[in-house]
Symmetry: C2
């Protein structure tokens, strides 16, 4: 099932996407909800960020190939994370399907995409085993972890390197019933494929991350967890269009501008 959050006129609502139709729903998909009887053409609604989480988890480094290729590129020994220590991103940076990634005017040219699978939680979760972990996931969406690498290397924190406004495109919607280790992620810049990898190649898979986090942190319904990227991302610039496709979810597409 495909769940979107959308705006039609003044109404902001969740909806179920079936073919080219959005069936309007009152309430929250992972709480009480009901079909309202209203429908919209998918092409007539504005898709919104599927959920604004209370806590925005992000795995950071989480694919073996990414570590190896980055190490080779930098002529360093590869360093694999020894544990599933989760990181965070910030809600101010979230934008929806089709919205514009704005590169700040003083950003360096090393601004890069990172295509990521995203878990959206549907139930409160504390101290769960890996084998139970996926029971707490409502569904899956796509994230693009835009990163300014000079700030990432030099600042004390990731605040503007990864959390500047518009640096976290997420969407287009949430899809339920998927096996998170059996999907294919493809990134395209201006239609050219730049990355193509299996979500099964994560260093720590979704159940491991969820189980580890839940040992100390209560994950709430509506929280999200981004699960890292593979490959060696390329720079993007004003005028580009970036697409992150994950099989059985869809395509997250965002144009890029540079602030003047």
């Amino acid at each position: 099932m495909i769940w979107c959050r959308f705006q039609a006129g003044e109404t902001i609502s969740y909806g179920i996407v079936e073919d080219e139709t959005v069936i309007e729903v009152s309430g929250i998909p992972w709480e009480e909800h009901a079909r309202t009887g209203k429908t919209h053409n998918l092409s007539d609604v504005k898709l919104l960020v599927p959920v604004i989480p209370e806590t925005f988890y992000c795995a950071g480094v989480n694919y073996r190939d990414h570590v190896l290729k980055m190490a080779a590129l930098l002529n360093r020994e590869p360093s694999f994370p020894p544990r599933a220590d989760i990181g965070y991103r910030a809600n101010n940076a979230l934008i929806a399907q089709g919205e514009t990634i704005v590169i700040p005017k003083d950003a360096h040219d090393e601004v890069q995409y990172e295509g990521e699978l995203v878990a959206v939680f549907g139930k409160k979760c504390r101290n769960v085993s890996p084998s139970e972990a996926l029971d707490y996931v409502f569904g899956w969406t796509i994230g693009n972890d835009i990163s300014e690498r000079v700030w990432q290397r030099n600042d004390r924190t990731l605040w503007r390197a990864k959390n500047a406004d518009t640096f976290k495109p997420m969407g287009p919607w949430i899809v339920t019933g998927l096996a998170p280790d059996q999907l294919r992620t493809t990134v395209r810049v201006n239609g050219r494929v730049t990355e193509d990898f299996d979500t099964g190649n994560m260093i720590f898979d979704a159940p491991t991350f969820i189980s580890e986090v839940s040992k100390y942190n209560t994950i709430e319904a509506g929280d999200i967890m981004w699960l890292g990227t593979d490959g060696i991302p390329e720079n993007i610039k004003g005028g580009d269009v970036v697409e992150v496709e994950i099989s059985n979810i869809g395509i997250l597409r965002n144009p890029v501008v540079r602030e003047e």
Copy 2:
């Protein structure tokens, strides 16, 4: 004016605190709101975390003395932040006045308080100068940035070192109309004063942090910014009671237990 968020019976609401009375208000203090005509005895209500932010900013290192003393404690060279790079904390860790700080059973003994002044924003804020910055702050509250130092030193991120459940007491309420650089912070463990410092000793003051963050990030109404601590925090243990008092705001008091 003192604004609290509270529960009385089944009702969760904001209220205005006057002496020992809470005047119930409908709506949000920094949006449309109105007095409902209902009042409660302050001692009859349960105070809640004053706000659950969309983005939880935290300055981290922001007092000169703290840098020097923590460097000694962590056996590192002191490193003063060259810029006001903001950090983050996570909402799962928030607890209210009087709620219990729970030290996880596998935590080391180096679990410490950090008493902090907290800005609560009342208006959306982007690209503001330091001289305008305080116009966007609705009021001020108190935070206690509980930290497990072994995890802080060894993990890749601060996730459990600073964001384990219950590690972010905040409250007891929000006070408007204060000058953030003219307050006195006092920390007590079991009634004994362990820290005592002026908020005027910050490396980067509140207007500077707000202005810097707002260059790249839109700060939303209801967001919070914790502004760092001074001194050399001591360990706390099960059975302790920690109080963070900030002059003209109040006392944030939380008991501590160790999970068995």
